[in-house]
Amino acid sequence: MIIESLMNLIYNIFDPIISSFNIPKFSDAVRVILDTIIGYFDVGMKILKAYINWDLAVTLFNMCLFAFAGYELLRLVFFILRKVPMFGTK
C-alpha cells in the first residue's frame, strides 16, 4: 500500500505535466517507410536465426548481462564497505 501510494503520487505529478504535451504522431508515409525498414531488419534476423542457435545466443547474452550487473553490484558493495572506517577495508 505504501509503495502503491508512492507510485500513484508520482504518476499524479507526472500526469498533468505530460498531458500538457500534444506531440503529433508519425504520418502514414513515415510510418510506411519505418515499417519497411523494420521489415527488412526482421528478415535479416530471420536469416541469422536460421543459421545460428539463437536461443543459446540469447541465453548466453542474458548470462553476460547478469554477470556484468552482479559485478557492478559487487563493486558498489565493496565501495560502500570501504567507506565504513570500522571495517578497515582497503
Binding site: D15, G39, Y40, K46
Partner: protein
C-alpha cells in the same frame, strides 16, 4: 557500465508479450459489440448457426478455408471472405511471434502477415480462439471458432480439408494462439452441451470518459448481459479482446448455470481505465440473477466459522503487513499500462520512436524461429519516372538438400559462443578476485 547493465536488465524484465505494440488501434475503441436491448422472456432464439453462417453482419460471409503450408507446428491458411460484395482473401498464419494476420478490405490477396506487430488501420483481424490452454490445441474438420472482424464476432467453421491425396481429413496441430493486438472488444462465449461455441454477449454497457479529439478513449465497461440461451452452457469464457491480453474465465463443466462475478479489470493498457465489470446472466424471466446457490466464487468467503477465522488471523495480519509494502498482483501491470497510455497519447512520434526501438530489440531478443522461409518486404520507389521495385517474394533460407549446412552452421556457432562465454567467465572471475 553499471547503469547500462542495470538498464538492460530492467528492459529484459519486461515481458515481451505484455507490451503494447500499436497505439493506433485504440481508435477502434468505439467499435465494440453493438449494444442491444436486453432480451425479454419471449425472445425467439436462433437456431445454432451453420457452417459459414454469419452471426452479426450480412456483409460478410465465410466462404472457405484452405491449408497452404503445413509444417510440424506451423500452418498458414487462406480464408476467403466476401465483404461488401468484394472478394477478399486473407492469409492466416500462426506462429508464436506473429499470431495474427491482417488483410486489406477489398484486396484480392494478402500475402504478407502483419509485419513487426504493426497493424495497419482498416484491415481485417482474424482470431481463432478455442481454448485458454496455451499448450497448443487441435484444429480439425468441423471445429468452430470465433472470428472477429471489425469488432464483430463471427463464427468460423472449419471446412473439410486435406493435404493428402486419399481425401482423408487431416488434423493439424497448431501453435498456441495468444490473443494480443486485437480490438478492444468484450465478448462472452460459451460452449454448449454439444460442444458448439456460441457468442453469448447480449448487452454491453459502457461509459466513455476522458475523450479528447484525436486521442483514444477511456472506456469503463460496467455491465454485461448474456443472451438467453435455450441450451445448457457447459463452459463459459469471458473475453476481453485488447491489444495485449485476454482475460479468460472458465466455469467448471458441472456448473450449467453461469455464475455472477465482479471483475476488476486492471489492465488498462488497451485504453480503458479501471472499472468493475459485471457479468449478469439472466434467467428465463429476463431478470438478472444475482445470487446463485453454489456460486463457487462467493460461497467460500461466506462459510468461514469462528474457529477458521481465529486460525487464519495470524496469516491475515501477516498478509496485511506484507500488503503495506508489496503491491497487489497486477499493480505493476496497471501502473505500466497507465504510463504507456499516457505517453502514447501525448508524446506522439517521440513515443513511437522508442516503441520502434523496443520492437527492434524484441525482434533481436526473441527466440529462434522454426520458419525456413522469409518474405522480403515489398518496396517501390519512383525515381525520375522509373519505378524501382524490390521484394515481395518469398525466399527459402535453407535450400533443399542443404539442411546439413544449416546444422553445421548452428553447431559451429554454438561452439564458438560457448567458448566465448567460458572466456568471458574466466575474465570476470579474475576481475572479481582483484576487486
Amino acid at each position: 557500465m553499471s547503469v547500462l547493465s542495470l538498464f538492460l536488465l530492467l528492459v529484459f524484465s519486461v515481458q515481451a508479450d505484455e507490451f503494447d505494440y500499436n497505439s493506433a488501434w485504440r481508435d477502434v475503441l468505439d467499435v465494440v459489440i453493438p449494444e442491444v436491448d436486453a432480451p425479454d422472456s419471449e425472445e425467439v432464439f436462433p437456431e445454432p448457426y451453420l457452417p459459414g453462417t454469419l452471426l452479426g453482419d450480412d456483409n460478410l460471409s465465410l466462404m472457405s478455408l484452405y491449408p497452404e503450408n503445413i509444417t510440424d507446428k506451423l500452418a498458414s491458411y487462406t480464408l476467403t471472405y466476401k465483404i461488401n460484395n468484394s472478394n477478399l482473401t486473407v492469409q492466416y498464419s500462426t506462429s508464436k511471434t506473429r499470431p495474427f494476420a491482417w488483410s486489406s478490405l477489398g484486396s484480392t490477396s494478402f500475402n504478407a502477415p502483419i509485419q513487426n506487430n504493426v497493424s495497419p488501420v482498416g484491415r481485417v483481424q482474424i482470431i481463432i480462439n478455442q481454448s485458454d490452454d496455451l499448450e497448443g490445441f487441435l484444429i480439425s474438420e468441423g471445429d468452430t471458432y470465433d472470428v472477429i472482424v471489425d469488432g464483430l464476432i463471427y463464427n468460423l467453421y472449419m471446412e473439410a480439408y486435406s493435404s493428402s491425396s486419399d481425401d482423408t481429413p487431416t488434423v493439424y496441430e497448431y501453435e498456441p494462439i495468444i490473443r494480443e493486438k486485437s480490438y478492444n472488444t468484450f465478448a462472452i462465449t460459451g460452449v454448449d452441451a454439444s460442444g458448439v461455441t456460441r457468442d453469448l454477449t447480449s448487452y454491453v454497457e459502457k461509459n466513455v470518459s476522458g475523450v479528447k479529439a484525436g486521442t483514444s478513449y477511456n472506456v469503463l465497461f460496467t455491465n454485461f448481459r448474456l443472451k438467453q440461451v435455450p441450451y445448457n452452457i457447459t463452459s463459459l469464457t469471458f473475453y476481453v479482446y485488447s491489444e495485449t491480453l485476454e482475460v479468460g474465465w472458465g466455469v467448471p463443466s458441472s456448473a450449467l448455470t453461469p455464475p455472477t462475478s465482479n471483475f476488476r479489470f486492471f489492465r488498462s493498457r488497451s485504453g480503458f481505465e479501471n472499472g468493475d465489470i459485471r457479468i449478469v446472466p439472466v434467467d428465463t424471466s429476463g431478470e438478472g440473477i444475482t445470487n446463485i446457490e453454489n456460486n463457487t466464487i462467493n460461497i467460500e468467503n461466506n462459510t468461514k466459522g469462528i474457529w477458521d477465522s481465529i486460525v487464519s488471523l495470524p496469516g491475515a495480519i501477516m498478509d496485511g503487513i506484507i500488503g503495506l509494502f508489496v503491491p497487489d498482483d497486477g499493480f505493476w501491470d496497471e501502473y505500466y499500462a497507465k504510463y504507456d497510455l499516457l505517453l502514447s497519447e501525448n508524446l506522439g512520434f517521440l513515443y513511437e520512436s522508442f516503441h520502434l526501438l523496443y520492437e527492434l530489440f524484441e525482434t533481436v531478443m526473441s527466440g529462434s524461429s522454426s520458419m525456413n522461409t522469409v518474405e522480403v518486404p515489398y518496396f517501390s520507389y519512383d525515381f525520375s519516372g522509373t519505378t524501382f521495385e524490390f521484394g515481395g517474394w518469398e525466399v527459402n533460407l535453407v535450400p533443399e538438400g542443404m539442411e546439413i549446412l544449416q546444422d553445421i552452421c548452428r553447431s559451429i556457432s554454438s561452439f564458438i559462443m560457448i567458448i566465448m562465454i567460458i572466456n568471458f567467465g574466466m575474465k570476470m572471475y579474475d576481475k572479481i578476485l582483484h576487486l
